[in-house]
């Protein structure tokens, strides 16, 4: 009690504490709040640069842009596609990451060295990962060479030219790059599980699997949830990889939501429409993070 009072007295300098966060506040305003207000404004007017008008002279458009976005099949499918891609790659990453973490939590030669190699992919720039997987999956690339070698000629696959295969190639790229993240998070969480309950369970004759199910998994669950949320939100932004590998093609069959917004907003200059679509996406992300952060907040000490 005394301790807390002392702290409250000593750390109550109003002028000083406001000064500390002032630069941060400025940045938040400059890049979050003001742009958001502009985006909201743009989404309710009708403005494209090719209209030749200034953006503040644009006519009011009501909810027309929102309506168009919601009814646009390309927006809908980009949204659904991104969600499916995120759910798929993140679950694969979770399963592989968990398996690797358990594997590396056992003893075998070269374990330490190997585990540091595993971190490699997630430190590479996304653009470079895109380039690597683009080159690997080229029609005359090494993957097809292996396929031909194993299954005979005429077995080469046009990876980036077929909708599902292209998505698969992109998904593989993302899994390759980010499974290490899941591995790393779960690995360190496993290391932090207190040994006592496990020892106790062992003396009681519990099997390895029971110990894992009943003690280890519950202990690392909060960490896994945070990792899933963060990875999910990051994966939802996917852009670089697709931009480099397929540009959203063939057709629009690998277009993610970010790529769709980029194309409508910046390639075709429909900035009002893109703003409305972006705000719809923002609302979705806010809802997901809000729901996702709820259990998380109890974990984070504030």
């Amino acid at each position: 009690m005394m301790q807390r009072l002392k702290h409250a007295l000593l750390f109550s300098d109003g002028w000083f504490k406001q000064l500390l966060v002032l630069p941060m506040q400025a940045v938040i305003w400059a890049v979050l709040v003001v742009p958001l207000l502009i985006a909201i404004y743009l989404s309710f007017v009708d403005w494209e640069p090719i209209s030749g008008r200034e953006w503040w002279q644009a006519p009011f458009a009501g909810v027309a842009n929102y309506k168009r976005a919601l009814l646009d099949p390309r927006f809908q499918s980009a949204f659904v596609r991104t969600l499916v891609l995120v759910l798929t790659v993140v679950s694969v990453q979770l399963v592989l990451g968990l398996a690797l973490a358990v594997l590396f939590n056992t003893k075998f030669p070269a374990r330490r060295f190997y585990s540091s190699i595993l971190l490699f992919p997630m430190m590479l720039p996304w653009v470079v990962v895109g380039l690597i997987f683009f080159v690997l999956f080229l029609e005359q690339g090494p993957i097809n060479y292996l396929l031909i070698g194993v299954f005979g000629p005429d077995r080469s696959v046009d990876w980036l030219g077929r909708p599902l295969l292209a998505l698969l190639a992109i998904g593989l790229g993302d899994v390759w790059q980010w499974t290490p993240f899941m591995f790393l998070v779960i690995y360190s969480a496993l290391a932090a599980v207190p040994p006592e309950p496990i020892e106790a369970a062992k003396t009681l004759g519990a099997s390895e699997w029971q110990i894992f199910r009943r003690i280890t998994v519950p202990a690392i669950m909060p960490v896994i949830l945070i990792a899933l949320l963060i990875r999910g939100l990051e994966a939802f932004k996917i852009f670089d990889l697709i931009f480099i590998m397929t540009g959203g093609g063939p057709g629009t069959s690998t277009e993610s939501i970010s790529l769709y917004l980029y194309r409508t907003g910046f390639v075709f200059g429909q900035l009002s429409f893109a703003s409305a679509a972006a705000i719809l996406v923002l609302v979705f992300v806010v809802l997901v993070s809000w729901a996702g952060l709820r259990p998380l907040r109890t974990e984070v000490e504030l």
């Binding site: 000593l10 653009v127 080159v135 090494p142 060479y145 945070i226």
Partner: protein
């Protein structure tokens, strides 16, 4: 920390599985490295090899001094653009915005950790900047940056990167500062030291390691950023990732120089990443997981 809790299975079998995994992880990178040393005839050779049959450094040379090598390779590559400007831009933008982000984040983190300024709202609204898809902010920022004259300038990128990595700086440094026992600061304050003095002579030295780790991680983020750079630069402020994407689509496809540039672009972040290996979990999860 006790390792090796599960003892079923043979270690050599586990080693085998782990080796396969490591090969899958390394394979693609090795392929890129190998491609960067191959002459044009081998870029899409019928029989791909890991070791180039006729290794060459040309792909690296043409990046930084186009027109230098002669012969058929030179002819094919002469159309490629030198990356010197992109490299200089990246070397300026990434470190400067890292310094700014960490400095602002440090002050903010101290305020949030010790004074709880802004309650929960402030730190979480900073976190939100990182959760939202950046493309959603690109449209209004374009209009906004135009008014401020910041399009295609390094300053514009620096501000944007400072802002977009602030979430990492704040949350990571908050974690480190939370770990510094308060009684040391309290003792100094009771002795009559000013808040600024306490901040810079007591807290700062104690979180030195944390600052370095945060800075390296933020540097990785800034160095690899692509979307904003793609949209907001056109000529003067182009960065390395954008330059890399520009090699796609030129006549004949310059896979070799592209791979070489990929290697050059990866090197700094790999070094930075391994330097802070210990902190990576924290870093990638904003310090939410320690």
């Amino acid at each position: 920390m006790s390792r090796g809790r599960y003892r079923t299975g043979r270690p050599w079998l586990r080693l085998l599985v782990a080796t396969v995994v490591v090969l899958v992880v390394l394979g693609p990178v090795v392929w890129l490295a190998s491609l960067s040393f191959k002459p044009p005839e081998e870029w899409l050779a019928g029989r791909p090899t890991i070791i180039p049959r006729d290794p060459t450094a040309t792909n690296y040379l043409v990046l930084f001094a186009p027109g230098l090598p002669g012969g058929a390779i030179g002819e094919a590559l002469r159309a490629a653009q030198p990356v010197n400007r992109a490299l200089i831009n990246s070397l300026l933008v990434a470190p400067i915005s890292t310094l700014l982000s960490v400095a602002i984040g440090f002050l903010g983190a101290y305020g949030v950790s010790r004074f709880r300024v802004g309650g929960n709202f402030l730190p979480f609204s900073v976190l939100a900047t990182r959760m939202f898809p950046p493309i959603a902010f690109a449209v209004p920022l374009l209009v906004y940056y135009r008014t401020l004259g910041l399009i295609d300038t390094r300053l514009g990128l620096i501000l944007m990167y400072t802002a977009s990595t602030l979430a990492f700086s704040l949350w990571l440094l908050k974690g480190f500062i939370d770990g510094v026992p308060r009684h040391i600061e309290e003792a100094a304050l009771l002795d009559g030291a000013s808040h600024w003095r306490v901040l810079f002579t007591i807290t700062l030295p104690l979180v030195r390691g944390g600052l370095a780790a945060t800075a390296l991680f933020v540097f990785i983020m800034n160095w690899t950023e692509f979307l904003f750079a793609l949209i907001f630069t056109s000529r003067t402020a182009v960065t390395v990732p954008v330059q890399l994407s520009q090699y796609v689509g030129t006549v004949g496809r310059f896979y070799g120089p592209q791979a070489a540039l990929g290697m050059v672009a990866s090197l700094p972040v790999l070094v930075a990443g391994y330097a802070i290996q210990r902190f990576l979990v924290r870093a990638f999860t904003f310090g939410l997981v320690k």
